[in-house]
């Protein structure tokens, strides 16, 4: 093995039934570098990581790790960990019912007389947490903390495993800017200590902020490995997509507005205790409204209050000019609303069902259980939306769990389109999916608006919102603090989020 290299993967090949997931992929990780692994959904990033960490086996190829002479094959994550390869996944993979300290130390608890030494464990754990400036109590069970904090704990755990290779698989998806900053600090410190970090993310800005090198995959094949300085953003995107990058700015034509005067939603003083303070909101037909604010500012909560996912406790809601009472999401659905939740794994995807079944689910719920949609009609709908939103799949009967994240998301959007809604709430529809699919989803939103539908669009990426939204609603600390309808730019939005009276 060359000097300074901690990990090499050569000619890795992996086939799933009917699909070639990886075809002879090479990957090299050097000591003390942060190496971005980029590619669209389905490019094979996750598969490569899972092959490396022993979640999947592979047919061909060799993996070498520094300090071990012969090629290694990991059969389990435990084996990978023992060889110094740790992973932090996009979804927090810790045990919510155990304390923070246990989650850090499980499987390697400090012992005294053969029994777990809780005192030492808690002390050591607090040390680790304090060193990383996470600032939580380690004796509390993990479920008491937010997803972002849980994510930090997961990283702390991986960091403490004295890994040679640290894999961060979409770790920033649920973190706010402040936390991302902290994570980067942590990554840079580890880099100085000589750890090789594989960073999988969809945020281009983040790649250019911390990474030294980029490996690009496309359709299970290696496109190339580049030092960061030699690969400008546009080229990276082009390489990921294998074509010239769509000019994103051209998604929306400024003069081509399709907003009508009719109001579809007229909310007056809606609120849900502890989640969102009373707010007013008017939405016109054909309008795309963006909800923006920091993580936890009440973006999702506002949408949930309208949809009845969290029943509004005060205020009135008019839909199409008529005052309505929404007690549960089914009422909202019957009024022509659709809601795509931000946590698609927990609230959206039914993993064991096929794509067809996932698509017709909402429509079936709207019709009621006793009016089964005829099989022919189901197939027609599934086919229509698979084509319309370009889901990459072998067949409509494939279980949705076999699709990549972005394609799953498309299916869920298809589910709502099938109900032919007048008003659609999309909560983080583009999170954790690649830039190509993101663009497609953004285009879809604009297209829907042109058809006269109204959309609430929630995203953490301001640029994306600027490109798609007609009007922005700004939230801060569970309260609607303003609207921006003219001059929507990064600067004006940031200012509104930060607040005029802010001292910072």
């Amino acid at each position: 093995m060359e000097n300074g290299v901690v990990l090499t993967m050569r000619g890795i090949t992996k086939t799933f039934p009917g699909v070639k997931a990886l075809g002879g992929v090479d990957f090299t990780l050097r000591k003390g570098e942060i190496h971005a692994l980029m590619g669209e959904n389905g490019a094979g990033k996750s598969t490569l990581i899972k092959v490396l960490t022993g979640v999947y086996d592979f047919e061909n190829g060799e993996i070498h790790v520094e300090g071990i002479d012969s090629p290694i094959i990991n059969h389990s994550t435990q084996e990978a960990q023992n060889r110094g390869i740790s992973t932090v996944y996009q979804e927090v993979n810790l045990c919510p019912n155990l304390t923070v300290a246990e989650n850090l130390f499980i499987g390697r608890e400090p012992k005294k007389f053969g029994l777990i030494d809780w005192k030492t464990m808690n002390k050591k754990a607090q040390q680790i947490i304090d060193d990383l400036d996470i600032g939580i109590d380690v004796t509390v069970t993990l479920e008491n903390y937010s997803v972002a904090l849980q994510q930090m704990v997961a990283i702390a755990r991986a960091v403490d495993m004295e890994s040679k290779v640290l894999i961060l698989d979409e770790p920033t998806s649920s973190l706010d800017d402040n936390e991302v900053e902290k994570l980067f600090g942590m990554m840079n410190r580890l880099k100085e200590q000589g750890v090789g970090i594989i960073f999988v993310t969809h945020f281009l800005e983040q790649v250019y902020a911390v990474c030294d090198r980029i490996t690009v995959l496309r359709n299970g094949e290696l496109v190339g490995e580049y030092p960061i300085a030699e690969l400008p953003r546009v080229e990276l995107v082009a390489k990921m997509m294998g074509k010239n990058f769509d000019d994103l700015a051209s998604i929306k034509d400024a003069d081509d507005t399709c907003i009508k005067d009719e109001l579809i939603i007229d909310a007056n003083g809606l609120s849900h205790k502890g989640k969102i303070k009373p707010f007013d909101l008017e939405i016109h037909k054909g309008e795309v409204i963006g909800l923006t604010g920091l993580l936890g500012s009440g973006r999702s909560e506002l949408a949930r209050a309208i949809y009845g996912a969290d029943k509004a406790q005060t205020g009135t809601l008019k839909v199409n000019g008529k005052e309505v009472k929404i007690n549960a999401p089914i009422d909202a659905m019957k009024l022509g609303m659709g809601f795509l939740p931000d946590d698609r794994k927990a609230e959206g995807v039914i993993a064991d069902l096929s794509i067809r079944e996932n698509i017709i689910l909402a429509l079936q719920a709207k019709r009621g259980v006793f009016k089964l949609i005829p099989r022919k009609e189901q197939e027609r709908l599934a086919e229509k939306y698979i084509k319309e939103i370009q889901v990459k799949t072998a067949s409509m009967e494939t279980p949705i769990s076999q699709l990549s994240g972005g394609n799953q998301q498309k299916v869920i959007i298809g589910r709502w389109l099938a109900t032919n809604p007048d008003f659609l709430i999309l909560d983080e529809p583009t999170r954790g999916i690649d830039i190509g699919t993101k663009t497609e989803i953004q285009k879809l939103v604009v297209k829907l608006a042109k058809e006269g539908k109204s959309v609430i669009f929630i995203s953490s990426e301001i640029e994306e919102m600027i490109r798609t939204c007609d009007r922005m609603v700004v939230l801060r600390d569970g309260m609607k603090v303003g609207e921006i309808s003219e001059d929507i730019t990064q600067a004006t939005i940031m200012k509104a989020i930060a607040g005029g009276d802010s001292n910072e």
């Binding site: 994550t77 996944y89 045990c95 246990e102 499987g107 939580i136």
Partner: protein, 339 residues
């Protein structure tokens, strides 16, 4: 970063269980005090009567913490009693041999169930239901008669009185009556203590919680989920067999219908003691109090004398609902606190 309010519903459940026991017992003392309920010995009798169930419930708790269930325990206790009785009386085994055979049967039983559930990943309900039928069937295969235990050694073990140095009283004839427990209680309490240490202070114990909390995570954190589950079922069957021996010391018989429905009593006790059916939460101290609560209900019905014994089942069912609703409420509060 702000620290979230820590609402620990699980500890609160345990406290409620203990308080409920104390209250229930206090009521018994007031209402049936004249009949001798308030004597320390009545309490000890509850322990003596339920020593076997305590062991079984400890095993059940461990399995339930992993998110599983073991409904074979009642039949296994029946089979244990049958093996003990038949072995000692018809095959003339020594008491020691019979006990060792029963423990080995328990382990083998657990290994088979554990392998099928843990390693092959089959639903625990189905496998242990098969175990339930198998063990009950084996009882009848051994003999359909009722066999009484007459083995001297075993009898001696069963009748040893261990006097406690406190809590006695002077009876009407002026003789000091020391309160006593039987060896079964000592063994049961040792089992509780060891299980407590196992759950709280060993890697295996914590793995049970991790598996019950989130199986995928446990696997990704490098724990051997399959082996952990398998071991849980072995432990359950083993503790169940210890429970079976204690049970036999109380009943001194082996018969086909013995300990029918004991698995449900064990599950009920564990749930009342704060173990979640969904896994990840539970502890044996709670389970011990769960058994004591069901035992107290039985004792209250007995002391009343007029009530049908079925009333104790009804009381247990009401309590079960009460605790499950409490658990649901606490889960809701927790969810709300987080948001």
């Amino acid at each position: 970063m702000k620290k979230k309010a820590n609402f620990n519903g699980n500890n609160l459940l345990l406290v409620i269980t203990i308080v409920l026991f104390v209250v229930m017992y206090a009521i018994g003392c007031i209402v049936y005090g004249s009949k001798g309920f308030s004597q320390f010995q009545s309490f000890l009798n509850i322990l003596i009567g339920n020593a076997g169930l305590i062991c079984v419930t400890c095993g059940m708790t461990c399995v339930m913490i992993t998110g599983g269930i073991d409904i074979s325990v009642g039949s296994l206790v029946g089979l244990d009693c049958m093996i003990l009785a038949y072995g000692m009386e018809k095959l003339h085994w020594s008491a020691i041999t019979a006990v060792i055979v029963v423990l080995i049967v328990g382990i083998v039983f657990g290994v088979v169930q554990g392998f099928l559930i843990g390693i092959l990943g089959i639903q625990p309900f189905i496998i242990t239901m098969a175990g339930l039928f198998f063990a009950r069937g084996m009882c009848a295969v051994i003999t359909t008669e009722m066999v009484n235990v007459a083995n001297e050694t075993f009898k001696k073990w069963a009748t040893i009185k261990i006097n406690l140095p406190f809590g006695g009283y002077v009876n009407r004839r002026g003789i000091y009556m020391a309160p006593y427990i039987r060896i079964t209680v000592v063994i049961a309490l040792i089992v509780v203590a060891l299980t407590f240490i196992l759950l709280k202070f060993t890697k295996f114990g914590r793995s049970l919680y991790a598996v019950g909390g989130n199986e995928t995570s446990a696997k990704l954190m490098g724990l051997n989920v399959k082996m952990t589950k398998m071991k849980a079922y072995i432990l359950s069957s083993f503790l169940c067999s210890i429970g079976g021996i204690l049970f036999c010391m109380n009943s001194m018989t082996g018969s086909v219908a013995q300990a029918k429905g004991l698995e449900m009593e064990a599950i009920a006790s564990a749930v009342i003691g704060g173990t979640l059916l969904t896994g990840g939460v539970g502890n044996v101290i709670g389970s011990l109090f769960g058994v004591l609560i069901t035992g107290t209900i039985d004792a209250l019905v007995q002391f009343n004398g007029k009530l049908l014994s079925s009333w104790s089942s009804i009381a247990v069912s009401v309590l079960l609902c009460f605790f499950i609703i409490l658990q649901a409420i606490f889960a809701l509060i927790k969810e709300r606190n987080k948001a």
